[in-house]
Symmetry: C2
Subunit: 437 residues, 2 copies
């Protein structure tokens, strides 16, 4: 069952059918390389068949832990950064109400360990003061500065609030199976733990316990999420043909636009529920491709709001971009526009219509206008805001970006550049074992 649809009509003036066909042999070769585990970064391919291989016992354990947190707590603080943060936040923002207090079920989900802001953490400590709080600390090593610092502070606050014994029951660690600081601490304190597999990098980890536990605590059905992932996995595995594999078609189109000196891909979301999906996508693409001075710069906008800010630039600025529209075909709830007797605003022609209807026309009008303005654009439509659809979408992009990295000739599964600022930072912090240059 296909819950996504890709439309590339508005790139055709820039990317011909022949050009795509010309890339097919290379795509097929790289598909086989990926499937056979012979390509670059092949020690990080655990995500490739994860949806079909994840064990029933693991799903059950995540669900049981989530149920326990939901029954014990009013608030879960998910502590992580990068790939240990963005997947869960993307899923929870996508599936759940957009505004806190709008009929959500279960604990409020807060995030920590994703910045170094005293103000943020002070505010968070205020918010949770009178709540029953659980913590899910997510870190492979347990020593990444941001989450480790936040965990120290929140662990201490929780222990002061409920005592050391009770705090131990309220903390779940998602970490390495065998080693590392967090694993050691979890064993010493007796925290429940979940495993971050060795062969899955952070940005590909949303369908592991890294993402699944906070997502389940938020009341989202992780079996349906995994089912969607599995559907997309099967579809992408069956055929490397660009006319049968939309993930590869997306990868091929963006590669050909990159070869035409487009420097930037702008993901333009037409639904506010997609805000953190865009952030997740930026990590996935940027961290996979941005190396050896290559790779599209991934940016995002939210329409229609940003049509009234970035719209001018998109229509008439430098022609160094292309646009990928990310759409939701059906909102959970639509709202109708009322008829007004006076019609001073001249909107009665829309009376009785839903906002989704107007939003769809805004998308169509924008896609045509930007094409006319010289911006190639494509669209990926998600049929709804269900976990199944989201699961398909996560896998769609993972698969596309893996192929895209291979097309670019880089290893899509490493991130060597992330260490440089850390090294400088540790020196400036006089961390033991680092020397000033």
């Amino acid at each position: 069952m296909n819950r996504l649809s890709l439309n590339i009509d508005n790139v055709k003036p820039f990317v011909s059918a022949d050009a795509l066909q010309g890339l097919q042999a290379e795509v097929t070769r790289l598909h086989n390389l990926l499937e056979s585990g012979q390509g670059l970064g092949n020690d990080y391919l655990g995500w490739l068949h994860l949806p079909s291989k994840i064990e029933a016992a693991e799903i059950q354990a995540v669900e049981a832990a989530a149920q326990s947190i939901r029954s014990q707590c009013d608030a879960l603080i998910s502590i992580g950064i990068g790939g240990s943060y963005l997947g869960a936040r993307a899923a929870i923002t996508f599936c759940n109400p957009l505004l806190r207090g709008a009929g959500g079920n279960g604990p409020d989900i807060y995030y920590a360990g994703h910045n170094l802001s005293g103000d943020y953490l002070a505010d968070l400590l205020d918010v949770i003061r009178n709540k029953r709080v659980c913590l899910n600390v997510i870190s492979k090593s347990g020593t990444t500065t941001e989450p480790a610092v936040a965990f120290r502070i929140l662990k201490e606050a929780l222990e002061q609030q409920v005592g050391v014994e009770e705090a131990r029951r309220r903390i779940v660690a998602t970490t390495d199976e065998k080693q590392g600081a967090l694993k050691q601490l979890a064993d010493a304190e007796g925290y429940q733990t979940f495993v971050i597999p060795d062969d899955i990098g952070g940005r590909y980890s949303v369908l592991t316990p890294v993402g699944l536990l906070p997502i389940a605590v938020a009341g989202i059905d992780i079996r349906k999420l995994l089912q969607g992932g599995q559907e997309a996995e099967h579809a992408a595995t069956q055929s490397a043909r660009l006319d049968e594999n939309p993930a590869y078609l997306y990868a091929a189109v963006r590669h050909l636009l990159y070869k035409q000196d487009k420097t930037t891909e702008v993901m333009a979301c037409f639904h506010p529920a997609l805000q953190y999906v865009a952030e997740w996508w930026k990590q996935l693409t940027g961290e996979s491709e941005g190396k050896e001075q290559r790779g599209l710069f991934p940016a995002s906008v939210e329409y229609t709001t940003d049509l009234h800010s970035m719209g001018q630039w998109m229509q008439e600025g430098q022609r160094t971009i292309f646009e990928t529209f990310l759409l939701v075909a059906q909102s959970n709830r639509d709202v109708s526009i009322p008829q007004f007797a006076d019609d001073l605003d001249g909107l009665n022609y829309l009376a009785g219509k839903g906002l989704d209807y107007v939003n769809d026309k805004a998308y169509r009008g924008t896609a045509a206008a930007h094409l006319e303005g010289g911006v190639p654009n494509l669209s990926l439509t998600l049929q709804d805001r269900t976990p199944e659809t989201l699961g398909q979408m996560f896998y769609f992009f993972e698969r596309a970006v893996a192929l895209s990295g291979y097309l670019l000739g880089v290893n899509p599964f490493d991130q060597p550049g992330v260490e440089f600022y850390k090294k400088n930072m540790f020196q400036l912090l006089n961390k033991p074992g680092t020397e000033k240059r």
Copy 2:
């Protein structure tokens, strides 16, 4: 009093002192053009000396209206899009607690009319169901689709909740002084109104009632905000010299980087309170400069969180970017890192230090690493999260972008490209008076 400081050391390998000096004559000429009102778009220069010219009576009226809303309501919904939305949201996010429920004072501020999402509006209607709500509808014409549609729906909901008469007392319109649909409606219904000046475009309007009213309702001292604006106005007016006018220096540096084929300026914020400041800045720069196929693409990231997602790309991706770090020197509240006896995470070397201290080192480490990676970068440091500092910053960027547009040879005050998608959309919606092509 200077509450901002600009540091361009890390662009010097790319932009020489001589190159800057070579631009001085042109900057001086354009400064005089701006001040004399002889340049492009000179019918939209009302912002230029707004901070010093805004009338005491207007400030008082805004404060009185805000006080009345604060005493009547638990929630203000600010209805607007683009320039009628981003300034207020930037200021409120910058000055107030980052998390709802963290000791904010006065009504909760919600936003509407900035998207066409049924889900968003349905959620908002849920959230406000049991609250005492006021509306501030902000639109020059009253016919911009997004806010007009949202206002219809929210006006009807409010009337159903409290009756037509009471609703009239709970609605304030910020609109044209004399004409337009919203002005007509406001007169007919007897709403209190504030004026959007004719000579100030949306993206330069944050220090008019467009921004000031919701900002004041949020409990922020608008006199201090205006004072900061006035300080920056005086500083920028006194001298066009690049060594005396940091707003012009910023404009000159980015112009010279643009001339070196940098396509993209990434604003990298090191404090979560800056999230909507970056959105406001993107409208200001993108809409002012993105025309005639020119202008830097404005993007934003939030560090350190995005160092764990976009960090790889920034360090080693295409060298088509430069980075502007936006920093807050002093948080409102810092949080200290506790000492742990076991020190399993190895963080005891930071015990007793505040998060701000670590965040500052992360910035310094990043700036050095990215420079080494081939990314020129500069920083603007805001001394704190006070309204005075924010007022200086708003004016700093307005002034810089006006000059920058002039350096680019475009009119920084119009936005002709925004109409294209609307025209298509109206045709698709069968709006009376629009014909299908």
